[in-house]
């Protein structure tokens, strides 16, 4: 019995490892594709061409950067006692580069502005307005 269970255990871990490797390679490939599209569009703006090894280098660097970013964001969120990552965590992750932080902050404001107001917020704001109006009216006379 023991050898069979042992074999089963090893197979399970091997399968898991294979799955993880598959997902990793899949992600890396897709990441590379998007990096190529971004890099080519950026190079077009400068009227230049990028050689393949450079794109591969950039995509590998960006992949590692993304992994580090994920770890940092997780740590920030855990430090704040949360299980979910906020926009503030992403902005804080760029605190060493002030220009980048400003860019991200403005992008976050745009994202917030694009967000449609939920019904609850509308209700709250409408109730506040309704509460606020009488006081203003009372002050007038």
């Amino acid at each position: 019995m023991d050898p069979i269970t042992m074999e089963g255990g090893y197979n399970g871990s091997d399968e898991e490892k294979e799955d993880v490797e598959e997902t990793n390679s899949h992600l890396r490939d897709r990441f590379r594709l998007s990096t190529i599209s971004i890099a080519e569009s950026e190079a077009k703006q400068d009227n230049m061409e990028i050689s393949q090894p450079v794109i591969v280098c950039i995509s590998d660097l960006a992949f590692k950067y993304a992994e580090q970013l994920a770890e940092d964001l997780e740590m920030f969120a855990h430090h704040a006692g949360r299980k979910s990552v906020n926009m503030n965590d992403v902005i804080i992750s760029a605190h060493r580069n002030t220009h980048l932080a400003d860019l991200l902050r403005s992008f976050s404001y745009n994202l917030k502005a694009k967000e449609p107001q939920s019904e609850k917020k509308r209700k709250k704001s409408s109730s506040k307005e309704s509460k606020g109006l009488p006081s203003v009216l009372n002050l007038d006379p």
Partner: protein
């Protein structure tokens, strides 16, 4: 516990495929990077769970640990923002390489990019 983690990974891969199919035509930075970030977090969660498993096999004090080891989630806007950050990283790398290439030669060379690290 480990079976759950395996199913999580499968879930992420299916999410990846769905998101890729959805965003294939769009010019915006593909949000499948969400999945990349999540895989990193799920990896960490798996490691934590394995550590907890080892601890419980030794001491058997693992009541209510499943909630602690839940993988980190992200706000949708936070994911978009991190995608923007990655896009800026790539564009900055290309622009820096371009400025160096313009100064030296008209075409990009790998050595130009190597100078970025310094």
């Amino acid at each position: 516990m480990r079976k759950g983690c395996g199913s999580n990974m499968e879930c992420y891969s299916t999410l990846l495929i769905v998101r890729l199919n959805y965003h294939r035509s769009s010019l915006v930075v593909p949000p499948w990077r969400t999945i990349l970030i999540r895989t990193v977090w799920s990896k960490k969660a798996i490691e934590r769970e394995k550590n907890v498993d080892d601890e419980t096999s030794k001491g058997e004090e693992g009541a209510g640990t499943s909630k602690k080891n839940r993988p980190t989630s992200a706000n949708s806007n936070a994911v978009k923002l991190s995608c923007e950050k990655l896009r800026l990283f790539v564009s900055e790398a290309v622009h820096r390489a371009a400025t160096i290439a313009e100064a030296e030669v008209s075409d990009f060379q790998p050595r130009n990019f190597n100078q970025l690290e310094n």
